[in-house]
């Protein structure tokens, strides 16, 4: 449509008569040029980052993105529904709110914990996507391998929780790139564990022993998860070996039995020597843990109880005093007062807290007096602590050797001594277990010790299932669970064509 210069000149010369034509011509040309302005229609989002081509600048945020769903306050994850549910299924907790009754009553055919399911699989999905995208990127081989190891760590540990709570689930090891990839059949539990173990082994091999970014995966964390996975699988040899590697190389990983529980369960410290792997929370609204509010008793009008243990008391999770574990808890064990309380110090005076006639004790492990809001408590949630290594070792070693060895005694005693407020490495008659325990008694005591050490850390239910100790639940609650696994979320059944 371009006119030659001469032609335009000729038109121009025709003066007024043709001015109109020129005007029309210009307008027509404008219109034609409009129709080919593809550039105008090309999108370049200013506030988003391309996930098509990851590079070294965007890699770090992409990795952090895999962890992000774990840390969503009210994401119904560890610090809320998931832990509340798991603890209510165990023997020592009671609920106040009606919506938690399906956990407490083992109505698992009615309980799917759908929001938790979604968040978990978002972690897995992002891990798979990261592996897929990074493989097609120009990122250097070391960074690449490290990122893949971190992704496999995340995938491995999440599946470890998923398989224990839901049983058979879809096994996803490839990225979801379109709707065609969205459906997947239920996998056998054995196959899921195979992936978990492979992933953690890869992470254990590739990752660094330490990280300067609290909350990120390390080889030590992978190793200890692996140890617990083996323990769950009753693979005593491997469980023992892996936990022993962690214990023997604690300096390499920077692990130690931090003597002060206030440091471990601090609401504002980034990490400590006990921290093997934890979900990090921060004192900002929406980025904190819900747990302190869930366990804090209700003050007048539900505001924080005097003395400030949380921004708001919801008191959904309370302790059962009749439970064998709690009823027979040594008063010298400092973990008892850490975990259970009936009165609080307010202005220098001890005042009873309002237990509403429904509880013997309030739970106290997670407190954030400076948390400004119920979703702004900074207390981290541990998935693995150094104490896990010692207790896994003690249990596995006892089972493997048909009775406690000295090493097994030493491992559990270290945890006990610290619990009694003593130096973990100095033998102590009060704290140390009596020698000469049978295999069964020692196993029993290890389970009990795990109960004291990890109360409210979401491990008790899994322990009772794996040890087949529903008698403890019957003793405390008068019910024996008939089911172990939650039903799959209805949305999953409805939308996943590979599931009947």
């Amino acid at each position: 449509m371009l006119l030659s210069k001469r032609k335009i000149y000729r038109i121009m010369n025709k003066k007024n008569r043709n001015m109109k034509s020129i005007y029309i011509l210009v307008l027509l040309l404008t219109m034609i040029s409009f129709s080919s302005c593809d550039d105008l229609l090309t999108e370049d989002p200013p506030s988003l980052i391309s996930y098509e081509n990851l590079n070294e600048d965007t890699l770090e945020a992409a990795i952090t993105g895999m962890y992000e769903p774990m840390t969503r306050s009210r994401g119904r994850l560890w610090e809320s529904t998931f832990t509340l549910g798991n603890e209510l299924q165990a023997d020592y907790a009671n609920r106040r709110a009606a919506w938690l009754s399906s956990f407490e009553q083992y109505q698992f055919e009615r309980q799917s914990a759908g929001a938790t399911w979604r968040s978990f699989f978002q972690c897995i999905g992002r891990a798979n996507l990261l592996i897929n995208r990074i493989n097609s990127s120009d990122i250097g081989p070391d960074l690449k391998e490290n990122a893949i190891a971190e992704a496999r760590f995340v995938r491995g540990i999440i599946y470890y929780y998923v398989v224990r709570s839901w049983g058979k689930v879809p096994l996803r090891t490839e990225a979801t790139l379109s709707a065609d990839d969205a459906d997947a059949p239920l996998a056998e539990i054995e196959d899921i564990y195979k992936v978990i173990i492979d992933d953690l082994k890869f992470a254990e091999k590739v990752l660094s022993p330490k990280t300067d970014m609290p909350g990120r995966a390390t080889s030590g964390a992978a190793k200890l998860f692996l140890a617990e996975v083996y323990l769950t699988r009753e693979d005593w040899q491997n469980a023992r070996d892996k936990s022993k590697e962690v214990i023997d190389n604690k300096a390499t990983y920077g692990y130690e039995l931090e003597p002060d529980f206030n440091v471990i369960f601090s609401h504002n410290l980034p990490t400590n020597s006990s921290d093997v792997f934890s979900i990090k929370f921060h004192e900002a609204v929406g980025f904190g843990s819900f747990l302190p509010a869930y366990i804090a008793p209700r003050g007048p009008g539900n505001i924080a109880v005097d003395g400030g243990v949380a921004a708001r008391g919801i008191f959904n999770l309370v302790a059962r005093g009749n439970c064998d574990l709690i009823a027979n808890w040594d008063d010298d064990d400092s973990r008892k007062s850490l975990n259970l309380y009936t009165e609080l110090e307010v202005n220098g005076q001890m005042v009873p807290v309002n237990l509403e006639g429904i509880a013997d004790y309030a739970f106290g492990k997670f407190k954030d007096p400076s948390g400004i809001e119920e979703t702004a408590a900074g207390n981290d949630f541990y998935l693995m602590r150094y104490a896990d290594a010692l207790l896994i070792f003690a249990e596995a070693d006892n089972m493997l050797n048909n009775g406690p060895t000295n090493d097994a005694y030493e491992a559990i005693n270290r945890v006990r001594r610290r619990g009694f407020g003593l130096d973990p490495y100095t033998p102590n008659a009060t704290a140390d277990l009596p020698l000469g325990l049978s295999k069964a008694d020692f196993d029993d005591i290890t389970l009990r010790e795990r109960g004291y050490e990890f109360m409210l850390e979401g491990k008790r239910w899994y322990d009772l299932v794996r040890k087949n100790r529903f008698d403890l639940i019957q003793q405390s609650k008068g019910i024996t669970p008939s089911l172990i696994y939650w039903s799959l979320p209805p949305n999953e059944i409805l939308t996943n064509d590979e599931i009947d």
Binding site: L41, A62, L129, T176, P214, P270
Partner: protein, 1035 residues
């Protein structure tokens, strides 16, 4: 047209053609029907008997007189250039700038007053020499100019389905927004005022819902500028910034022939809004004002203090298998502690609220330059204390003829509005955990005083059995929940006449909106806890540049061609900013000093841009004024779609046959208009968010990797690279029929709309890592009929009535979903379902069967597992009405006039979740509705454990009929002095509503008009009724 010929003297010679018997009969019938016109003889009633006698009486010559007077419209505004003719002659004159005329006529001559767009009027000359005439606007006039996309047409020439409203709707009714004026006025246009919150948005649906996710809002075009009105979930809407008094006319384009010219944004219909402009003549100054008192329309019947105590006692006694005797005794003690109080929380929280409006305009101009200026102020207090809406708005519309060939028009509208809300349930408000002010009024215990002895908010959940979900409603009143919207909408249109019949038009415009949302929860709230602060701003700028040609040519004497062709470029940018923080040294700071907060979250910004590039063409052909053809095509290019899908073409063809202009009907003089219309065409919906086709990640924050601060984290999406436009193909057949100069009118339309490639979020199995994906998956059909009936009768010159009735029915069928799968739209409590073969948004609930002998609920247990659960759900109803209707009546006796606007909806259910989720749940965690025993005769813990709130027990009939507006107006006219006209009126809104619905209002829609979950009541701000006193003055 026959009718007009009969009346207009220049055609009156043709009267001699009325020779045959048949024709004589027709004219006789006509004469009888026109008798009231003959009565239109001001100030001389005794002449009436004479006028019966015979036609010849009219011709009795007495003597010539000079008759003078003023011609005004119903608002008292003089009509310059109106024609005044003596019947059966060619003698005539026109009125001057002030509407005055002089004419020499004989006694008993009949003067015909006419003006384009108004009903003509005949007056017989009597003894008085001054004849002042008021002409009524005729919205159905064939000569009426109708605004269509990129141009105007005479109504007579329309081939598509276009409904019009003039500014009367805003004069008749004390409206605060444009949509209120449309409600009940137009067939096929459903307007739902889903919230009584002052300044809240309303949803408009033109011919049903034809999109899953693209929204149902029509495209709004203000003075040629297509505006963005997508931010509907914010409970305020962009239209609320426009002063209704500035509106000259509203056209709703319904069928594809009318809408296709707007292409990719027109599938939900197009609403064209034209603002007022000045007319040449003396300056006209008007001042309109009103003040009204609003009150709560109705209360939800709750238990009194003693009733609730009795209920709690019953509950514990019924639950004696669960509670021990000592626990039951403790409850009695608990209750006694606070015994005696009887708080009606409706009376505590709701009030009589004042609404007032002031509107001042100046308009006028010369032949070359015309101006219209307005300044307005609206202040509406909400019936909930501490809630309100106010708006300042200024407008200047200026047009100037720069030369013979060049016209320029500039418009600027600046407004600022502020809305203070009552923390309404919006389905997503995570801060309040779904709690809301309206719900708190219903949940609060009636037997606890609101304030403690210190004057602070009392703990209103003091009982051992109190739930954590209950809070002091006064606390909600203290929450800051404010939207402040500033807007500049401005444009300049340039028109250049290039040659005879060819004009080029350029339109440029900007629409700038800044909406700031402030929220603050003070520390004094018993339950809502810490001081949290939120500040969100949304800045949006839309820039429009258009250029098009208009071409008109008479090809032969009988064949007229007109065409419009042009290009358009519109760019929309949005800048979002959000800050949230918590903890302040003192509540006094509120949201005025966020830097003082102890904890500040990472600020959020999100910027987007989208571009639409278009070309359009329309051609109209008229053959002998009988056969009309029209065709249009628009090609849109949108940045929002992926490569390869950026462009789409939307064609339409239509035709009309004006049977009344045919020879064989030429002599049937009482028929003005009989027209058959048919159209076919396509329009689209591009309502997806920008960047949907790209593989991208949003940026979120997490403490993981730090522990004591937040780090950026990528949240990758699942892209939809192949997604394309929704295309609506619509066929329309219509009839327009009017007789006796528009006195009786009938309009009928049948349409069939099929929308394909519906964009929807497809639910993915959550284990894929993504819960949903946008895709073109669906197909839906809407078909319906629309009937409009109108009558204007002048019983005498002093008594006139005008009736307009419309009724329409839309049926909806989902033809296809993704892989034929159901789409579940779950929300707390209720569930809507989209299923092939069913109507959109069916209620998917467990069927309630009644009670067993213990008073426990029984449900249809489809999966036979003994509990009501997800698998027991079935389709049990639908929210879509069977039909909607409106009746608008205007009556006048001398200077006294009456307006009534009735509006209703028949059929369709409402899921009363207010009742389902708390008020009828057999527990003691909140106050209960008085008739809870109807829902659960034996309330107890056991009953609660057996019940499900997702059952059709809570489905109610949503039918209603409402007297939306009634107004009595008295008009004073002044022949001398500065005031031309003065109207005083009293009006009432929502004074009568007939419905069986037990919630606050059957016009409820918690999720807004654009959501597919329709007919859910989660507790909208209650509706009001209002009595208003008002005054309009014209100088």
């Amino acid at each position: 047209m026959k009718k007009l010929r009969y009346y207009f003297p220049k055609n009156s010679m043709k009267k001699s053609h009325y020779s045959s018997k048949l024709k004589t009969t027709f004219s006789w019938v006509l004469f009888l029907l026109c008798l009231p016109k003959v009565f239109a003889f001001e100030g001389n009633a005794n002449k009436i008997t004479n006028s019966f006698s015979s036609d010849t009486e009219f011709n009795t010559v007495i003597q010539d007189n000079e008759i003078k007077g003023t011609v005004i419209d119903s608002n008292g505004i003089p009509l310059p250039g109106a024609s005044v003719l003596i019947k059966n002659t060619t003698n005539g004159t026109t009125t001057d700038f002030d509407g005055n005329y002089k004419i020499v006529a004989k006694k008993a001559d009949v003067l015909i007053f006419s003006y384009i767009g108004y009903l003509s009027k005949e007056v017989t000359v009597g003894n008085e020499n001054t004849i002042n005439v008021t002409l009524e606007a005729n919205s159905q006039s064939l000569d009426e100019i109708v605004i269509v996309g990129y141009g105007t047409k005479r109504r007579a020439d329309l081939t598509g389905s276009v409904s019009s409203l003039d500014d009367d709707v805003f004069v008749d009714q004390a409206t605060t927004s444009i949509e209120q004026g449309i409600q009940g006025r137009l067939a096929g246009v459903q307007v739902i005022q889903s919230s009584g919150q002052p300044g809240a948005g309303m949803s408009i649906k033109v011919r049903g819902t034809s999109s899953f996710s693209g929204g149902t809002d029509p495209l709004y075009v203000i003075d040629g500028f297509p505006i963005v009105n997508s931010d509907t979930n914010n409970n305020t809407n962009a239209l609320s910034t426009i002063n209704p008094n500035d509106i000259a006319s509203i056209e709703v384009l319904k069928d594809a022939a009318a809408t296709a010219i707007y292409g990719s944004r027109a599938a939900n219909g197009v609403v064209l809004i034209t603002t007022k402009s000045g007319k040449s003549g003396a300056p006209k100054i008007t001042y309109n004002t009103y003040a009204g008192v609003q009150t709560l329309r109705n209360k939800v019947e709750m238990m009194s203090g003693s009733e609730f105590e009795q209920y709690v006692t019953n509950y514990y006694n019924n639950s004696n298998s669960v509670f021990t005797p000592s626990e039951i005794a403790a409850v009695t003690g608990d209750l006694n502690q606070f015994g005696g109080a009887n708080i009606d929380w409706h009376d505590e929280i709701y009030r009589q609220a004042i609404q007032q409006s002031h509107d001042l305009t100046v308009s006028g101009g010369t032949e070359k330059t015309k101006y219209f200026m307005s300044a307005s102020y609206l202040s509406q207090d909400g019936i909930a204390k501490n809630t309100d809406f106010n708006r300042y708005s200024m407008r200047m519309n200026l047009s100037s003829k720069i030369s013979d060939k060049v016209d320029v028009t500039g418009r600027i509208n600046v407004s600022r509005s502020t809305q203070n809300g009552f923390v309404a349930y919006d389905g997503t408000n995570s801060r309040t955990g779904g709690k809301n002010g309206v719900g708190s009024v219903l949940n609060a215990y009636p037997n606890v005083e609101p304030f403690n002895e210190n004057g602070g908010f009392a703990n209103i959940a003091p009982f051992g059995f109190s739930g954590s979900e209950i809070e002091n409603p006064y606390a909600f009143l203290d929450v800051t929940d404010r939207n402040t919207t500033s807007r500049v909408l401005s444009g300049i249109d340039l028109s250049i006449k290039l040659m005879d019949g060819l004009t080029n038009k350029t339109r440029t415009g900007i629409d700038y909106i800044n909406r700031r949302t402030d929220t603050y929860f003070p520390s004094t709230l018993p339950n809502l806890g810490a001081q949290t602060i939120g500040l969100n701003t949304r800045e949006q700028l839309s820039v429009l540049v258009e250029n098009y040609f208009e071409f008109n040519k008479d090809l032969t004497d009988n064949i007229k061609l007109s065409a419009t062709a042009g290009v358009s470029l519109q760019e929309d940018k949005i800048w979002l900013t959000g800050i949230s923080a918590a903890g302040l040294p003192t509540d006094d700071l509120g949201n005025n000093a966020i830097q003082a907060a102890y904890s500040i979250n990472p600020p959020m910004t999100n910027n987007t841009k989208s571009v639409l590039v278009s070309q359009f063409l329309r051609a109209d052909l008229s053959v002998s004024g009988k056969y009309l053809f029209s065709g249009s095509v628009r090609r849109d290019g949108s940045s929002r779609f992926g490569d390869g899908n950026k462009y789409a073409v939307f064609p339409s063809v239509s035709g009309a046959w004006r049977i009344s202009n045919e020879e064989f009907l030429k002599d049937v003089s009482f028929i003005d208009n009989l027209k058959l219309r048919a159209s076919w065409g396509q329009s689209g919906n591009q309502a997806i968010n920008p960047y949907t086709s790209l593989t991208i990640a949003g940026i979120v924050s997490t403490p993981q990797g730090s522990g004591t601060s937040l780090l950026p984290a990528l949240a990758p999406n699942l892209p939809s690279p192949d997604i394309t436009w929704e295309t609506t193909t619509q066929t329309n057949i219509g009839i327009d029929f009017s007789v006796l100069q528009g006195k009786y009118r009938l309009g009928f339309d049948y349409y069939n709309k099929i929308t394909d490639d519906l964009i929807s979020f497809v639910s993915l199995s959550p284990s894929s890592g993504f819960s949903q994906l946008l895709d073109n998956v669906g197909k839906i059909k809407n078909s319906g009929i629309e009937l409009v009936l109108g009558a204007t009768t002048n019983i005498t010159s002093d008594i006139e009535f005008d009736f307009d009735f419309n009724i329409s029915r839309n049926t909806n069928e989902v033809l296809r979903t993704s892989d034929g799968e159901d789409i579940l739209l779950e929300s707390k409590g209720g569930v809507a379902l989209i299923r092939e073969g069913e109507s959109l948004s069916s209620f998917y609930l467990v069927k309630f069967l009644g009670f067993d002998s213990n008073g426990d609920p029984l449900y249809e247990d489809i999966n036979d597992n003994g509990v009501p659960d997800g698998e027991d759900r079935q389709i049990v109803g639908n929210s879509l009405p069977d039909f909607i209707y409106g009746l608008n009546i205007q009556g006048r006796y001398k200077q006294l006039s009456l307006v009534m606007n009735w509006q209703g909806s028949y059929g369709g259910s409402i899921f009363n979740n207010l009742v389902a989720s708390a008020l009828a749940v057999p527990d003691v965690e909140s106050n209960k509705i008085r008739n809870i025993y109807d829902y659960f005769p034996n309330p107890s813990t056991q009953t609660r454990d057996l019940m499900t709130s997702a059952s059709d027990q809570f489905l109610e009939d949503g039918s209603y009929l409402r007297l939306k507006n009634i107004k009595v107006n008295y008009q004073f006219s002044f022949s001398e002095g500065p005031i031309n006209a003065l109207d005083l009126y009293v009006s009432g809104q929502n004074l009568l509503t007939f419905t069986k619905y037990t919630g606050y209002d059957p016009e409820v829609n918690t999720f807004g008009g654009n959501d597919l979950r329709q007919g859910f009541d989660y507790g909208a701000y209650p509706s009001t009724k209002m009595v208003t006193l008002g005054m309009n003055v014209t100088f």
